[in-house]
């Protein structure tokens, strides 16, 4: 079932087309990765989908046009984690994750015991309970990433948008972050849409990949359908190979020995 539909969306900034005529749909419970070379429009598309960037065309969630929703209603349906979230100086992990409850509170109201309980559960799921009183700036990159994800999950929305969630993480933390998202997706029935640079990870975790180029969707489909080495070489301007390792696809650069 189509949960989120993007219809002929376009964005121009200073008369430069950033997105042109983008249409796509996301099904309930699906994990969709948006990939593409730098400047393809991945981040812009994600922020348009999250309702944070003005665009032509239309977006609907669960059959309702997104422009008919108030900002708070939208925030109860869509959580968004930017590529480089703000790290407010001196803010504790507890306070940061608790901010995720904002759309569920009366505008000038305060959190209740239900919000505290829910956040405690989320902190436990993300192994953050023991560091609740620590400030964000004292955390490692991996711990910080867990905080950002925890805040998004505390927002308790059916859809989560993640912009490059594994950027600046080492191999182990990348895998841990994506495994955690997969687990939460199953536990909370969350639909995930994320942008990724790493095509191998995108193929391993996503149900579907949308490959973008120059502000348009070049191709979309199951990872095996999208990750064609000739197409990737053309779009990325680099020689790549797509290998099959066990059940997964691995995209690797193909370095020519003749042209070091």
């Amino acid at each position: 079932m189509n949960l989120f539909v993007v219809n002929e969306v376009g964005v121009r900034i200073e008369d430069v087309p950033i997105l042109s005529d983008v249409s796509l749909s996301v099904n309930t419970g699906e994990w969709v990765s948006i990939v593409g070379p730098n400047g393809a429009g991945k981040t812009t598309l994600l922020s348009v989908m999250a309702g944070l960037q003005k665009a032509s065309g239309s977006l609907s969630i669960d059959g309702r046009n997104i422009t008919d929703l108030t900002l708070r209603e939208r925030a109860r349906l869509l959580a968004y984690v930017p590529q480089h979230p703000e790290i407010p100086p001196g803010m504790t992990v507890n306070s940061y994750v608790l901010l995720g409850r904002t759309p569920h509170l009366p505008f000038l109201g305060m959190e209740g015991s239900h919000d505290f309980r829910l956040v405690e559960q989320v902190l436990e799921q993300f192994d953050l309970s023991s560091m609740g009183q620590r400030t964000l700036e004292s955390l490692s990159g991996g711990e910080l990433q867990r905080c950002h994800l925890a805040r998004a999950i505390a927002q308790a929305t059916p859809i989560v948008f993640l912009d490059e969630p594994t950027t600046a993480l080492d191999l182990g933390h990348q895998q841990q972050a994506l495994d955690r998202i997969r687990l939460l997706r199953e536990e909370h029935q969350v639909t995930v849409v994320m942008t990724m640079h790493d095509l191998t990870l995108a193929s391993q975790y996503s149900d579907r990949i949308i490959l973008m180029s120059k502000g348009r969707i070049a191709v979309e489909g199951k990872p095996a359908e999208v990750l064609d080495p000739i197409r990737l070489s053309e779009l990325y301007g680099a020689q790549v190979k797509v290998l099959q390792v066990d059940d997964h696809l691995v995209v690797v650069p193909s370095v020519s020995k003749e042209n070091p």
Partner: protein, 362 residues
């Protein structure tokens, strides 16, 4: 809204301490104690020769169900109730208002250098007061004095002008555009004020005295003039304290959580500017309080606006009452301008806190 909610958090925190802030309750207790100590000192100490024990009895006599004969003469009683008490009350109101306004400006602009005069309130008030003084419309004393009125109006016009300029600059209504508009408006109004001052050198001493800030003309009239604005401004900002924590995430992330950052900024700026304009109108320009007090609170009690905002009111109030006491005691019977004392006492104290704290400023 219950007082506990207004001063601190909402429901009781969960068993694992989510939502708990270990500094909130002790901070509030210490803050109220600091106000009580500063106010008592302000009432008991002064150039008039009044026995402190008798002065204390006089204070206790006014409490409900307590009757004590203080033995003070009517003049001495008058000094306590009509000179010292309004001065303490005005100092507390001005200090609390400026510290809260500074803390809220720092929160909405996410700029640690923001102070209550950031959007031109000081320059506008300075121009208004100068016009009133040089035209002979006011001498800074009395109920019908035009100095506070024109200072108040000048401050509000300056902030309104800044807001209109900053939000019509075509730069997507960014806070930076607003700050730059504030700099432009303040420079322009200061230039006019300086020009008027230069053309009327005979009043330069009066203008200069107003600019340095003072509480020596405090009366119940001025207290009643400031109190409604101070309470309305304070109440509105305190109600927004959780939202101001959301604003610390930046406009994009605040929007993704269902908050309209520009609307929040407008409401908080209006409330803080109203309080600042009223405070400046009755006390002149008292610098430093709006920056140092909130940052000291942050360094000691953490960066959450749920704690910083209420504690800034209490410690701002205590701080200004205390420095006013120093200003009128150190060179008694002469008075040192309060603006000089705030910087003289506040700067070293702040440096000590800054060096000893492991916390970061935000």
């Amino acid at each position: 809204m219950p007082v506990r909610q207004l001063l601190g958090g909402g429901a009781a925190p969960g068993p694992m301490g989510v939502g708990a802030d270990k500094f909130r309750v002790p901070g509030l207790l210490i803050g109220f104690l600091a106000v009580a100590v500063a106010a008592s000192a302000g009432l008991l100490i002064g150039p008039a020769d009044i026995d402190r024990t008798n002065a204390l009895k006089e204070l206790l006599d006014r409490l409900p169900f307590i009757s004590v004969d203080s033995g003070l003469s009517p003049i001495q009683k008058n000094i306590i109730w009509e000179v010292r008490l309004p001065r303490v009350a005005l100092g507390a109101l001005v200090g609390g208002t400026l510290a809260l306004s500074g803390a809220s400006y720092q929160a909405v602009f996410r700029n640690p250098l923001a102070d209550p005069y950031l959007l031109g309130a000081a320059a506008g008030a300075g121009l208004g007061a100068t016009v009133a003084i040089v035209t002979g419309s006011g001498d800074g004393v009395g109920t019908f004095d035009l100095v506070p009125l024109l200072a108040f109006v000048g401050a509000l016009i300056a902030v309104a002008l800044t807001y209109l300029l900053g939000y019509s600059s075509g730069t997507q209504r960014s806070p930076a555009a607003l700050l730059l508009a504030g700099v432009a408006v303040a420079s322009f109004l200061t230039a006019i004020q300086t020009f008027i001052q230069q053309q009327n050198v005979e009043t330069i001493r009066q203008v200069y005295s107003w600019i340095l800030g003072r509480l020596n003309t405090a009366s119940w009239d001025e207290v009643s003039l400031l109190a409604p604005y101070a309470f309305a401004s304070g109440l509105l900002i305190l109600v927004y304290r959780r939202i101001l924590d959301v604003m610390r995430l930046g406009d994009l992330e605040a929007s993704s959580l269902g908050i309209r950052p520009q609307l929040v900024r407008l409401v908080v700026i209006c409330a803080a500017s109203l309080g600042t304009a009223a405070a400046v109108a009755v006390s002149g320009l008292i610098a430093f309080v709006g920056i140092i007090v909130p940052h000291t609170v942050r360094l000691v009690a953490g960066a959450s606006n749920r704690v910083v905002l209420p504690l800034s009111i209490l410690f701002g109030a205590a701080f200004l009452v205390f420095v006013d006491l120093l200003g009128r005691s150190l060179a008694s019977p002469a008075e040192i301008p309060i603006g000089v004392i705030t910087a003289f006492c506040g700067a070293p104290f702040f440096v000590i806190v800054l060096r000893s704290s492991k916390r970061t400023l935000g």
